[in-house]
């Protein structure tokens, strides 16, 4: 490899992602953030390389090691499954900074000091969207289509459910984790099954949701999205989406690496730091009252009046300040 130290004026980032950079979801949000940073800092100051589609940990580990070998300033492992590989690799490259998401674990307890962690507190936006859903449902039934009950998806869904209950405990939330990130047809039929159970507001997370959105549109049910702005898929029914902006975590990491700190800190996207943004669909005529309520809850989260605790076993509890 060509040592990056030779070109000290350029900051070089490499990222390894599990799906493609155009998935309109997890990987794309990272790709877009790096592109935005490059736009901001200039191509001669900031370069990035990406290895996509490395769902297999084994292949990803080889890629991570290789990027470190080549002297990248920051190597990002964008997938919670990559952690164990980092534990092996990071100590071998003490001069290189690593970042791992989504997680809070930087491995400092294992005496590894060159790993940053980042995550999205997607339960926050989920909660806000949940509150608005509860206000919009007429049937009193809301549907949620999820992939597999872990990580980011679980956080979002749990936050959403808590938001609905916060607004109205009577409302029934139907949740279906379809056990797949990629089966659009199954997502579609899951949404249909919810619609048949009278659900008139739906949400969902991960890259298979376009199938569900399709059914929601057919049935004229409302849709709330997350991870990316999905309004273009169904302008008539998408109410609002929680959008991720990883630059909020990446910028401080990059700055600290430039100053010589190679790891040890965990960053989170929150509503407060605007790493999470509630994006309303302009083409959808949302009741003023509902929008106001949503904005109010979001502000309460920003202010810390409402916060969330996640227990060891993953259960989420809503904590309201007195």
């Amino acid at each position: 490899g060509s040592p990056a130290q030779a070109q000290d004026d350029v900051f070089r980032v490499a990222v390894v992602t599990p799906s493609t950079g155009t998935d309109l979801a997890f990987s794309q949000s990272m790709y877009d953030a790096l592109a935005a940073i490059q736009e901001e800092r200039g191509e001669d100051a900031f370069e990035f390389a990406i290895s996509e589609n490395l769902f297999v940990v084994d292949d990803a580990a080889a890629a991570l090691r290789d990027y470190a070998d080549q002297g990248y300033d920051l190597v990002i492992a964008h997938g919670s499954q990559y952690g164990s590989s980092l534990v092996e690799i990071a100590p071998d490259y003490p001069e290189t900074a690593f970042a791992w998401g989504t997680t809070v674990d930087t491995f400092v307890d294992q005496d590894i000091t060159n790993v940053y962690a980042y995550e999205a507190r997607s339960e926050q936006g989920g909660f806000v969207l949940g509150v608005m859903s509860a206000m919009l449902t007429e049937s009193g039934v809301i549907g949620v289509v999820g992939p597999i009950e872990t990580g980011d998806a679980k956080l979002y869904v749990d936050g959403f459910k808590a938001g609905v209950a916060y607004e109205d405990e009577e409302i029934e939330v139907l949740v279906n984790y379809i056990q797949s990130f990629s089966d659009l047809a199954k997502a579609a039929e899951a949404a249909q099954a919810m619609i048949d159970e009278d659900a008139d507001v739906l949400t969902g997370t991960a890259q298979m949701v376009p199938g569900a959105i399709q059914k929601a549109q057919e049935a004229e049910a409302l849709w709330f999205g997350t991870q990316a702005d999905q309004a273009s898929l169904a302008p008539d029914i998408v109410v609002a989406c929680q959008v991720y902006d990883w630059t909020v975590a990446l910028n401080p990491i990059i700055d600290q690496v430039m100053e010589g700190t190679l790891g040890g800190e965990a960053f989170a996207l929150t509503l407060e730091n605007e790493g999470l943004v509630i994006q309303f669909n302009e083409e959808f005529e949302l009741d003023e009252e509902v929008m106001a309520a949503g904005e109010e809850v979001a502000q309460a989260i920003v202010d810390g009046d409402i916060s969330f605790e996640i227990a060891e076993d993953g259960t989420l509890t809503v904590v309201e300040a007195e």
Partner: protein, 316 residues
């Protein structure tokens, strides 16, 4: 509890889910009956799904609001052409080059997966939707309780899929081509010594399989989901291959298998949605497990093509 689960809308959902399996599995039935196992169905489905979607997207003047019959017809046509080409390539690899069919199919799958992903990323910067085949509401029939929802509010491609079953049966059993095809799959040496061109018959069968696999993909992208994205078919092509075994190489058997599998899938979705207290990790395996158990105990092998996967070459 079963009344809560087995509603008309669940059955209708099962029928929708069965559609791509029917096209793909009937196509594969032709190939296998002639002695060629094509494991690449999934790849051809993806190409069909992409190309028909692309066709409809390009040709629909006002994309999001109304459907355009001409654009839809063109979309299906594009899928047919793509299927034809892929079928030809598959036949060339398996029949002429006599590749190991278990492996060459994986190559075709990967080609289809890679190609459809690449073209999608190149031509569409993000996920977009089109107006696909609309549901046909038959005037009176569609209002009959139960039956109406199940049978008379589906779209044209669904009806096409079910019409394919008797058609395939007829072709296999009542035409000279069908007879040649079955003979070539059972005993190519005997067929050859009767002056039948084993190569030509297998090419035809594999091309039919390619066209139907491609239409199966189209039936998902423009006949159900109205969207394309990477790996849209998500393994359905492999299930279709399994359904051919399940159906003992007979069109009606394939249909029963596809319906069983899809209905159980729909039931499982319903069960998770209304929450019957079984973890969804387990429930989501039930369609597979049930199908497999049914298979183990119901397997009949009479029509199994004895020369399946066996290339044919005449002495010297």
């Amino acid at each position: 509890m079963i009344e809560d689960l087995l509603t008309a809308s669940v059955i209708a959902s099962g029928i929708r889910l069965a559609m791509p399996y029917l096209y793909a599995a009937i196509g594969e039935t032709f190939g296998q009956r002639s002695g060629v196992l094509n494991l690449g169905v999934e790849g051809v489905m993806l190409l069909g799904a992409y190309s028909s979607f692309w066709g409809v997207y390009q040709l629909t003047p006002d994309k999001a609001t109304s459907f355009d019959p001409m654009a839809l017809a063109a979309g299906v046509l594009v899928a047919v052409l793509v299927g034809l080409l892929m079928g030809l390539a598959t036949a060339f690899i398996n029949v002429t080059l006599q590749a190991e069919q278990g492996i060459s199919g994986i190559g075709i799958y990967l080609f289809g997966l890679g190609m459809s992903t690449l073209l999608f990323q190149k031509n569409f910067s993000q996920v977009v939707t089109v107006k696909g085949f609309p549901k046909i509401h038959f005037p009176v029939l569609s209002d009959i309780p139960l039956i109406g929802e199940i049978f008379f509010r589906q779209n044209l491609l669904v009806y096409g899929a079910f019409a394919l079953i008797p058609l395939a049966w007829f072709v296999l059993h009542k035409t000279t081509f069908g007879l040649r095809l079955r003979a070539v799959g059972q005993n190519p040496e005997a067929a050859d010594s009767m002056g039948i061109s084993v190569t030509r018959v297998r090419y035809m069968a594999v091309i039919i399989g390619g066209v139907l696999a491609s239409v199966a993909g189209a039936s998902m992208s423009i006949g159900h989901l109205n969207v394309f994205q990477q790996n849209l078919t998500d393994g359905r092509g492999f299930i279709a291959v399994a359904l051919v075994y399940f159906g003992s190489w007979r069109p009606y058997g394939v249909m029963y298998g596809a319906l069983l599998f899809s209905l159980v899938t729909a039931l499982q979705i319903k069960a998770v949605t209304i929450g019957i207290g079984i973890p969804s990790e387990l429930l989501s395996m039930t369609p597979y497990l049930l199908t497999i158990i049914a298979l183990i105990f119901a397997s009949r092998r009479i029509d199994q093509p004895a020369a399946l996967t066996r290339p044919f070459e005449r002495g010297e």
